[in-house]
Symmetry: C2
Subunit: 361 residues, 2 copies
Amino acid sequence: MLVNGKAYRTVWMEQGAVKLIDQHQLPHRFEVATLVGFRDTAEAIKTMLVRGAGAIGAAAGYAMAQAVLEAPASGFADFVKGAAEHIRSTRPTAHDLFFAVDQVLDASLKASTPEAAREAAVKTATVLADENARAGERIGEHGVRLLKSGTRILTHCNAGWLAFVDWGSALAPVYMAQRQGVEVFVYVTETRPRSQGAKLTAWELGQAGIPHAIIADTAAGFFFQQRMIDCVIVGADRIAANGDVANKIGTFTLAVLARHHGVPFYVAAPRSTFDLRTPDGAAIRIEERSEDEVLWVSGRSRQGALEQVRIAPEGSPARNPAFDRTPASLVTRFITDGGVFEPSPQAIARFVRGAAPAAIS
Amino acid sequence: MLVNGKAYRTVWMEQGAVKLIDQHQLPHRFEVATLVGFRDTAEAIKTMLVRGAGAIGAAAGYAMAQAVLEAPASGFADFVKGAAEHIRSTRPTAHDLFFAVDQVLDASLKASTPEAAREAAVKTATVLADENARAGERIGEHGVRLLKSGTRILTHCNAGWLAFVDWGSALAPVYMAQRQGVEVFVYVTETRPRSQGAKLTAWELGQAGIPHAIIADTAAGFFFQQRMIDCVIVGADRIAANGDVANKIGTFTLAVLARHHGVPFYVAAPRSTFDLRTPDGAAIRIEERSEDEVLWVSGRSRQGALEQVRIAPEGSPARNPAFDRTPASLVTRFITDGGVFEPSPQAIARFVRGAAPAAIS
């Protein structure tokens, strides 16, 4: 996607270094970070310099490729397996991360020489990133059929191109609609505690010139009640075999509101987000992050500095579950790179195992 | 209630000046503002130096009393009527404000001399404030019967003593439980955009030593789903004759979540919040406030200064409805100074007209 008129991906590799758009600085500054070694890239994933299921997956694949490039000839396999463990430990919820690490690890361990392993690792990581970008574009092609001129979409957190390598999941149909001249409007929930909606989704939509409004998370119910939301489209961090969805905290609340008001609730995700080894939502561990994310807010001061301010009194504790689980029963349709289909175990299995699901109008 | 061991009310009158706890500074600094004339007090209501239905009502009553004290003997009635209009225009949603202005205005216009009017105005405003404090205590006495040791309560925004003259509405049962040795736990939603939960409710509970945790507004659904919330208690800005409730934005969403999970949803309010002249929620105008409340967040910087930081990109607009309407059908019970009763037009009319509603166990 374009930033100030120049095409970017969220994450890419250049001469052994991983480059990524620094999402800590957005929307206030646009900067590209350079990560020299796999430990740097792992740290960037952990500290959320890069975030979003697809972008984390691509970064993890590149980090794994870096590890293979760094591995000594003696003890090669132990080094790359240890690196894989290290990269896996950065974020517990994102399935794309584990998927990418496994793919690059397998490709490198299958190779007969370290030299061949290095080549296979970089190639596999690159293919994964390319596939992620293409998957987003296909999600857009399938999802755009659910939209028409005037459709008012509610989205949560950031499942736009910044969360992927390109295009995004939830926002891919929005970008595709724009290319086709279909004018939609997007309500963007702030998405506390990290405010990725207000910070990243609003920035993406602003760069693309798509009409939108930021709302406090508390205001979603009001706009449903006023019949000002025609559909919800969110992304996913992991989708279980039965269709339960783990996604950013607050997603479940929006699904309950959508059901209460009879509004379609769509979950957009590429194949790599579906995990047949996870039977249902209950099997997904929910990451609880630092209470400081709730107690403090970061932004740009009137003087232009990036700062944190504490909103809560000293001594008051906070709870900070980072994700929640939306049961399949509250999902209207999945929008995937393989088509739009209902949240049934059968349709999911068909899609993940490679047979295109029957199209649903 | 006690602040650092000393008893305070939220708002009071001292030698013609209105004194109130400056809620812009909380929880970071505890300061008492002195408002010399009725226009100063009106401005304090408008800029939310004082907020919360009961505290606004008391401040408006005192402001009206100040206006009567300031009114010239010639053109007395026109002056106080003009002042009443001015005070009414500060906040459109709070019924307590209109109620207090009308009471003090009526008392002063009924008096035969300006001298008698001044005395009546100050007395009426003082009685209103005293009644508000006593109403809170009675809400506590009635509401505490719904709680037992171990009850985990979710509350929204600030409907504690800072929102009233003393005791509060939603938190009055919590304070009463503490006096009776009943140990409860309170989940406090941040309540963006102004974060009154994280700022004021957490501060109140911390001062009182009541166990609590702040959660992002997005996390409420998660805690319902985990069966970690036993009941919701919120306040109200206005309750219509049919039981529909106007309250802080986000209240409706919590009511939908409570219903979805079969959790009781209680609305605590004194008589002055019920408005029989408002037939239903649709008749309540919803105030839309500045988009800057959504785009910016205020707090205390690491250097200790009160600062605002912008979270959103330049150029992204926001929508900011300040209240929403919860239909009576989602309210389990009202907790009032006259007892606990179901949200029926009959029970409301009985309560407002003065007959104590039949007790409901």
